[in-house]
Structures are given as structure tokens and as C-alpha cells.
Subunit: 333 residues, 4 copies
């Protein structure tokens, strides 16, 4: 009955179990065995040697990543509707020490090279202007759109040619991977991504996200800034445990698959109400105020996105059967 | 057998249980019922209306508190050996946007008015110098010393007279309360403290600390900066649950009592080896390198503080019986 | 023959003379008699008690003003084409410690309440979003448009109602005053402006701008941040001397009158080429690449603003006779 | 009669003349011919290719240099009495975004390798501590002491071995060069210095200091941050003109020679009153309160450094004859 946010969903039992199993004496901070195993675990997932650090929020992950890629006097090109622009209370500006977000356009909060170039090419290359130094995309996007590997690759190629760092906000990376059918590698480093904010909390974890550095030399810098940002938890093993539980047996993919399937089931009945194609676990529906009220009267909770549009988010714990009532209710509007 | 750090101890079962019980659908961030109950819970503990926010590390708590009390161009007077100076990788400078820590002296990392005045009075009051704007003390201190209410009050009086904010780093506040026998109120706001970093993680929690604002009007500012620092967890109810579990039936005091008693039991046999009086759960012992090696050969783990001195920390899960072996081993050196 | 920038113009002889006359022993920094007389001099100009500080660039003036009005986690609403957004390499973000510029639209880089409200009202008032805390306008604007007192006042009223600080970038304030015929007071504090960056360099000074605080209690804060920004010159009397020379006998108005008249003389022949009404000393002309080349071949220097548009700026040292050649050349295109 | 500060001295006539000669149309900012000639002029002085940028204060020069050498999470080792620590209102922390100044000891505000190592070696190399990343010395020091080339070289060797940047605050570099008899090259890059803040204002300029980068690749970064700090003056040619006038015919050395000789003449009669050897243009004298009053009654102005000690500073415009009266007065105390 709840489609307000995947952040409102419970924690996946396997994650809670892993926390319980981690509940023994171990070294503090990130010196414990679980934390030290993250590099290997993510290197397996991404089929290349990576460095990975836990943090406790996606905002911290994004801001630390951007700070590693963009100097204070630089700019980060991102979509006008990006989470880093609109939903992080200026965390990117805080961690980068005042870098400017340079806002690009694109359907469904997706960026493509032409939109990025339109921003970059309008900036005279002199000391008076903040120069672009990094590019950040969200996958899946804030409107639940997923990038294909070739789409990421085209942006990665542009970033490489311009000498920009390339960050991917993967708060819903799992949903994007499931939708695309591509490998995690294909969607990231093979397409030029330097750092991925790999989200787990929206997908069933309690408080653990990962920063995955495809340029491992950045990890030392990020580790210092993580501590400086107050994000080096003293009992870090409980974060590592969550992540390892999510990676084990591809639980992260199974959870995302459930959420995506649920969203697709609702989308199937929503027809012309859909503002964006449904490629992850978010639906944006054209619904009048009266219709919204009718749905709420039936017990469904969701977010008013803008006048005439509501947002529904499905979660890892909802299967197609669970969403049948809302699908029926929408069909019946 | 482990006296390395109270951060290395396991999580208290009651805290894990509370996390499990919180594992249901609820609003994201800090809008949930548990998070919303923190103000009331801490107001009870402190016998006055307070605003309280969860954060996931003591470093974040300290840095957010200092940023609320000191402008970027100001200074924070603290002890030369304070955690905020030596162990936070510059988090105070990061969150305050470059305020300067002004280092004072005092035995056992305790400050007294004369030490604070020695620093402040040497600073000419002009625009060339960074002017003191806040005072920060640690209770219990980094050397396990506890302040009495009148000692805090003397500093609070000084801070008030000079117009400074007054912060207490209470990473081991529970141990200080237990030792002093004073009320939480007497040790804080009645003595002039504006914001307390109230630590739970070293005392049995998993990842939850609290910022307790005795000037509740500061809470809105801190809430914005908490988000901006990436510290607004999306599933914040699991942090609130930990804190509420620690406060319930004074578990926080029981845990600290156990750790303090264990430390006292070791101290009782350490005699002249003690560098500082033992008032909390930390012991600093004069031990030669050979003696340290002998202890380690028996399986005891601890921290080399400086040449000839080791640090032992007891934890909430160790009672007097549990520390009998190390007490015997030290006595036998 | 030069219309590239008013920054390229020489220094006004009266200013150089004043520097020469200041060339004697005096107290360092801003303790000298000239610096100390600025408050009184500007209080005369503005018909109200103000505090005024010299700085050496308009960028510093703007950034210091914004830092006094907007906290790090706040936002400054300004025009999309504002100098603070496009031409200061992120100085506002640097001095505010990462506040976000929130970009509004309006013809000729002028803001009006509806454009400002469109930005502000789209921002949900919660901790996830950067909240507007200040409003900044440029007068005359980056396109040479001048505000009337009532236009400023409507914005000032909005700012007051929302609790925002209100800053005016007056790099070409003199030109705006001359055009409007209004008093400096009517265009600023009587219309709600809190701080004015009062420009002199583009109008004939060498290196002195003024920050005029209509809320004098802000001056102490700004003075500390000026020093911290490296802008407290040790021989500040030479900056004060420049400003006092510009204010003496309304030289600042005479200079701006000359530049405005010259621009008007060119505008009179430019007809439909004008992109914006000419209200100060800047002209934006629709000129083809061939036409631009033809003008340059005759020795005229100017800036290519965007494809098909060039910018001409007249200066204090150009009278109507001086600009007759370019006016003829444009008429002859 | 004035020994308060070399900042209080007038501007050297040659500098004023040069400003007058620069008073013609030229390109704005630092694109003018004079600004563009600085690299060559300083490359001559230092016998190696350097990049040089003007700024208008020594504080800005120092802070920009440190920001180029030290990341926000790093530390700068400097003397406890350094200008950057005590007299810049936190400008280093502002420009570096919160780096920590790590305070070392040494006689006369001079650092030597052992004092620097004592600070550095006490810092455990882990993520909890701010790690040293740069070393900064002042030459001549805040107490008027000058470094020999081998002394600088020993520090430079240490910095190189540890991977630190090495900055020299040369607010009174000219006085140090004159005293040492060494070449500018020998005192800087040949001894390992990366960036020099080359002071001119205390030595007769109006508002121009230079940042001399011996690692020219740093100049681009510094240029961006100079603009961002509001230090790119739009009429920069007037700063370049001052510097070029000071370099011409070694005026900078002649001025410093005069000031040093005057100080030496006073020192010659001060005997046991001298707190520090006089090697530049500053004297620190043990003088009782009554004696200080007696000197002031005769019209001499100076600074009370600390109880029982006063500071006298001679300037470029004072020759030995000019200081004879105060020398006599001191001898007569």
C-alpha cells in the first residue's frame, strides 16, 4: 500500500542477519576483515580491480566522489533535475568546497553528449568562468530511466576527450543493471566511469552504500575525506556486512528485479498516464487531484511530484502480486 | 582479552533487538515516529526541553556542533590533546569552513579557566587575529578524566562572559556521568553547555550518536548542515531505535557502570603505573616494552600510547570478573 | 577607438592626484584618516548612516557581500546572466563556502518579482533543498539596463517578506544613478537593499571599490572576512584616497554622465541593431561577422558577445565627440 | 620619527611614477603588456624560468601559495609565531579550505629540520590525523632573522624527502637577500622552495606583491584561484607597473639596503636590549614601560610587542642619518 519511497521499505532479512553475525569483537573503523574484503568483492562484481569504501548515505557517496574528481574552482556538469542538484542541500558544493553544478538538459533526466556539449561549449575557456571538470549522471535517473552501455560510453568518451572526471550516481544502480541486461562492468568502467556511487539502502540495506573507484588511486584521497566528513564509522564492520550480504548470491539483483517487475506491472495498466517510460522502480503518472485523492482514499501512499503528476516507487519487498491492488485501482480510475 | 578500543566491542543485544523491531515500513529520513520521539526522550534525561538529532559518528556530531557555534573566521579553544584536534582528520575545520583550533593546556586533557584564559588573553582583539568564538571540552577526557559539575560550570561561566559557544564532546559522556554521580543536567546545560555530542557507540550502540542542543533554536541550522554533510540517513529510524534502546531503563548508565568498574578493578592493581587517575573506562599505564610484550604474549591486546605508556580501554560487555585475568597479569609484572 | 571594456580605460587624473597626495606617512591597513572618513562620506551620499569598506575588486565586493547575507547552506537568487554567476570564477561560492546561485530569468538581465518568485516557489521548503536566503541584482545590469527605484523596491519588498538579504552589484552603479535620475538613496536602502557593491574602477578609479552596508552591524563581520580573504591592504589609504576623489564634487556622476552620453550617441544611430535599450554605457549590437570585421578594419575594438552580436562599452574619458567616428561607422554599415 | 611599521611608510617615487606612466589604454585584467612581462622579469632575477603573478596583499600571496601546495585535508608546518598563523585572520585556512597549521618551534621564528621533524614525526600516519603536506617559512622572519641558503636548503631537502610543498613567505625577502649576500636563486629554488611570496609593499610599493612559482605548472591553478579569491584586478597593469619599477635597476635591493642599514645603526647602540640579532629591518628591544614612555614623549612611534619588549621597524625611506635621533635616544635611556 506504500509507494512513497523505497527508503521507507524495511531492511532485507539477509542484511539484518549479516549484521547479527558481525556482532563480535573486531578491529575498529575499517580495519576489520569484512571491510577489508570489499575491494575483492567489488572487483569480482566489476571484473576488474577496484577500490571500494563504505559510506552510510548516497549523498555522502556522491559528494565524496565529486570532490575527488572536481577542484573547488571547477564545475560539474549534471542534469538540471539531478539529485545532486536538487536533493542534497548543497552537499556537492560543501564537499568540493564550492564547485559549481552546471545544469544540462535531457529527456527523463538522462544526459546525452549534445546536451552536455551545449553547456560546455557555451563556457569561454578563461579564468573568469568556472570550467567544467567533471560529469555526473544518475543511473537509473531521477525519473526511473536507465542508460544503455553505449549511452554511458558516449558520455564517457566525451568526458575523456575533455579531460573531465566521470561519476555515476547509482542510488538505483541495481535497477538499471537489471533493466539493461548489461554487466555492471559494461555500464561503468568499460564506458568510462571513474567512480560509482553504488546504492544499497533503497534496495534493502539498512545504512550502507559503496563508493566504487575504478581508478583505485583515488581511494586514498577519498578515505581521508571520508574521515574528514565524519563518515568513518567506528564500527564499520556492520556496514561492510550489509554490503557483503547484498552482494552474496546476487541478492542485490534479485531485489532490484522484484522492484522493477512490480513497477512494470503497474506501468502495464497505466498507459497514457505514464510521463516517462518505466525502466526501473519509479513511475510518474498523470493523475488529477481528484484521482489522487481517490487512490489515497483506498490507502495508497505516494508523492505529489508536481501539479497533475504523482510519483510511485516500488521496493525490493514488493512482488507483482503485492502491487496488484494499486494496479487495479489505477486501471479503474 | 581485548583492551584495544571500546569501538571494537560488540553491539549490545538490546540495541540489536531494537533495530529488528524497527524493521518495518515507516517514513524516510527523520520523519519517522522513533526519530520524532528523540526530543522528548532527551528532554527527560536532561530535565529541560532540548532538541536532539541522531548522527552516525562522534566526529560528525562534534563537527556539526562546532559549526553551529563558531563562524569560519573564528576560533575554538580546546585542549591540545583533544580528539577534535588530533583524531578527526580536520573535520572541525571542514564543517566550520576553516575555523582555527586554539590549543590550551591542562592536566589529563582537562581544561580549567586559567588554561583557557591563557590562550584567549594572548590574542589581540583585532581583525588580524582569529578571535575565540567557542570553547570545547571532552568529558570524559581523552585520558579518561571526568569533570565535576563545578568544573564545567567554571568554564561555562567564562564562555558566557566572553560570548563564546560551549560544546562538550561526550563520546564517553556516560562514563563521566557514572563517575561523577551528578545528573546529566548538572554536567551540561546547568553548567553552561550549549551543545553536547552524546556518545552511544563506544557504550554499546552500533552506529548512533546524538547531538543534544540545549539551545533548541540551533537545531534547525544543524539539521540543514547534517543533510549537507551527507549525514541524514534515509532510514534514520534505525538510528533512533538504537538511541532509544540505550536510553530505556538507563541502559546507557548500566553499560558505562560496567566499563568503569572494570577499569577501576584493573587500576586497583596498577598502583604507580597509572599515568592518570582512572575515572572512566580508560587506563594509561607505564609499562616497559618488555612488559608490554609479556602481556601481549598472554593474549591481551592494547594500544601503545607513547614510548613507555600503553592504553587500555574497557567496554560495556566486560565486568569485573572478565578483567580479572589482565588485572592479575599486570599485578604480576 | 576602444570600446572593449571600461576596465581598459585609463585612471582619471583626479584619482591619480589623490594617490599622490596620500603619499605620506600614515597608519597601516584601514586605520588611517582617509579610510576612517569613508563612513561619513558615504553617509552623505546616501543620506543615512552607513558603514563603508574599501576593497580592490568588484568580485571581492560582491563575494564578501553575499557571504554576509547568505549562509553556506543557503542560496542566492540572481539572474542567469549575472556577473556573479558567469564572470567571477566561483568567487561567490568560495566566499559563502558553497552557497548555491539560484538562477532566475528576466529581460536584459533585469529581475522582477515574478521571475524571482518562479525560482523560489519551485523550491520545497525542506532540508533536502537549498533554500533561498538572499537576492542579488546588478544595477546597471550586465546588458546595460538600469532599474527604477520602484523596480528595486518591488524586489526589496519581496526580499523583506521572505526574510532574504538583498544585495546590489553596482559595478556600474554610477551609470544607473545617472540614467534613472533618482537619488542613490532611492535606488538602494530606501528600496530595501542591504549591501551595495559600489563600483569605481570602471568609472575612473585605479583599484578601489566600496562595500556600502546599509545595515551597519554587518560591517564588523565583513571586515573580518575581508582580512581573511586577503583584501585588507596594508596601505589602504591609497584606496580610500581614490574613492574620496571620486566622490568629491560628484566626479563619479560626471564620469558616468560622460560615458552614458557617449553610449547614447552611438545608440542614436544604431536603430534596430540594438538588442537592448541603452541605459548605461554598454551597447549590444546586431552586427554580422562581415560588418564586425569592417569596423575592426577601421580600428575599432570591441567584444564578440555571441554570434551576430557585439558589445561596445564606452568609458568615462570618452565624450560624445570622441565616439562620433564609431557612430558614423555604424551608421554607414 | 616613525618606527611603527614599514607598511606605514610612503610609496617610493619611482613606483608612483611608474603608475603614472601606465596610465593609458590597455587590456584589462592581466592581459596587458606589463603583466605579461612579469614572467621574464622574475626569470631574470631568479636565473631560471619562473611564472609570476601579481596580487595586492601578502596575505593573499601566502594563502594562494599554500592552497596550491596543500590539500584541504592536509597540514602546513610553520613556526608558532608565523604571520600565516597569527596575523592573517585565518586566510590560509580559508584559501586551503581548512588545512591545519602545524606549529613548530625555533629561535627567532626560524625553523630548522629538527624542529620540523619534531612536529612531523609525532603525527601517526593514518587517516585520523591531518598529515603534513607543506612547509612554510618566513624570510626574513617575523623577528627579523634571515636564513642562509644552506639553512633553507636543509629544510628544502627535508620537504623533498617527505613529499611536501615548500613555501617561503618573503614579505621582507628583499631585506633577507641584502643581509645574506646570497642570490635570490640561492635562497629559493636552488634550496628547494616551490613558491615565494615576494613582498614589495613593505619595501616601497603601493599595492603590489608577487607570487613567484618555481614550479611554473602551478601558475595556472593559482591564476584560477586568484580570480576566485577576488584578486584579479581589472586594471592589473598598475600592479605590474609597480613591480617592474621595483625590479628596475635593483631598486628593491637599494630600498632594503637602506632599511637594513638603518636598523643596524640603531642596533649598534642597543646592546643588551636586543632580543634578537638584527638581520633585517626589525628590532625587538627590551625597554621598560617608563623607558617606552620616555621615547614616545620624544615623538618616536613604535609597537608594544609584549610586556617589556617593543618592536621598531625601519623603512626604505630612512637612511642612517634619519635614524640617528632614535639611536641617540635609545643610547641615552
Amino acid at each position: 500500500m506504500r509507494y512513497f519511497s523505497d527508503n521507507a521499505a524495511p531492511v532485507c532479512p539477509a542484511v539484518l542477519d549479516a549484521i547479527g553475525r558481525a556482532n563480535r569483537l573486531d578491529t575498529a573503523y575499517d580495519g576489520d576483515a569484512l571491510s577489508r574484503s570489499l575491494d575483492a568483492a567489488f572487483s569480482d562484481v566489476f571484473e576488474t580491480p577496484v577500490s571500494a569504501l563504505w559510506v552510510s548515505t548516497g549523498t555522502a557517496a556522491n559528494a565524496l566522489a565529486l570532490a575527488a574528481l572536481c577542484p573547488p574552482h571547477g564545475g560539474v556538469i549534471c542534469h538540471r533535475d539531478a539529485h545532486i542538484q536538487n536533493d542534497e542541500c548543497g552537499a556537492p558544493e560543501f564537499y568540493t568546497h564550492g564547485a559549481k553544478l552546471l545544469l544540462a538538459d535531457g529527456d527523463g533526466a538522462k544526459l546525452a553528449p549534445e546536451g552536455v556539449r551545449a553547456v560546455a561549449d557555451a563556457i569561454v575557456d578563461d579564468v573568469h568562468r568556472v570550467q567544467p571538470r567533471a560529469l555526473s549522471i544518475t543511473n537509473a535517473t531521477e525519473y526511473g530511466r536507465a542508460y544503455r552501455p553505449d549511452e554511458v560510453g558516449a558520455l564517457g568518451e566525451l568526458a575523456r576527450a575533455r579531460g573531465w572526471g566521470f561519476h555515476m550516481d547509482g542510488a538505483r544502480f541495481a535497477n538499471a543493471v537489471v533493466h539493461s541486461g548489461a554487466s555492471p562492468a559494461a555500464l561503468t568502467w568499460r564506458a568510462g566511469v571513474d567512480i560509482l556511487s553504488f546504492g544499497f539502502v533503497k534496495n534493502g540495506a539498512l545504512s550502507a552504500e559503496a563508493l566504487v573507484c575504478f581508478r583505485p588511486e583515488l581511494a586514498g584521497l577519498i578515505a581521508a575525506r571520508r574521515k574528514r566528513g565524519g563518515h568513518l564509522l567506528s564500527k564499520g564492520r556492520y556496514l561492510a556486512a550489509q554490503i557483503l550480504a547484498m552482494l552474496k548470491d546476487d541478492l542485490w539483483l534479485a531485489n532490484a528485479r522484484a522492484a522493477n517487475a512490480s513497477a512494470a506491472a503497474i506501468a502495464a495498466v497505466a498507459g497514457a498516464r505514464l510521463v516517462h517510460p518505466v525502466e526501473a522502480n519509479e513511475l510518474f503518472l498523470r493523475v488529477s487531484a481528484d484521482e489522487a485523492a481517490a487512490l489515497r482514499a483506498q490507502g495508497f501512499a505516494f508523492y505529489d511530484w508536481e501539479p497533475g503528476v504523482v510519483r510511485l516507487v516500488t521496493s525490493w519487498d514488493q512482488d507483482v502480486a503485492a502491487v496488484a491492488p494499486i494496479a487495479r485501482a489505477i486501471a479503474a480510475l
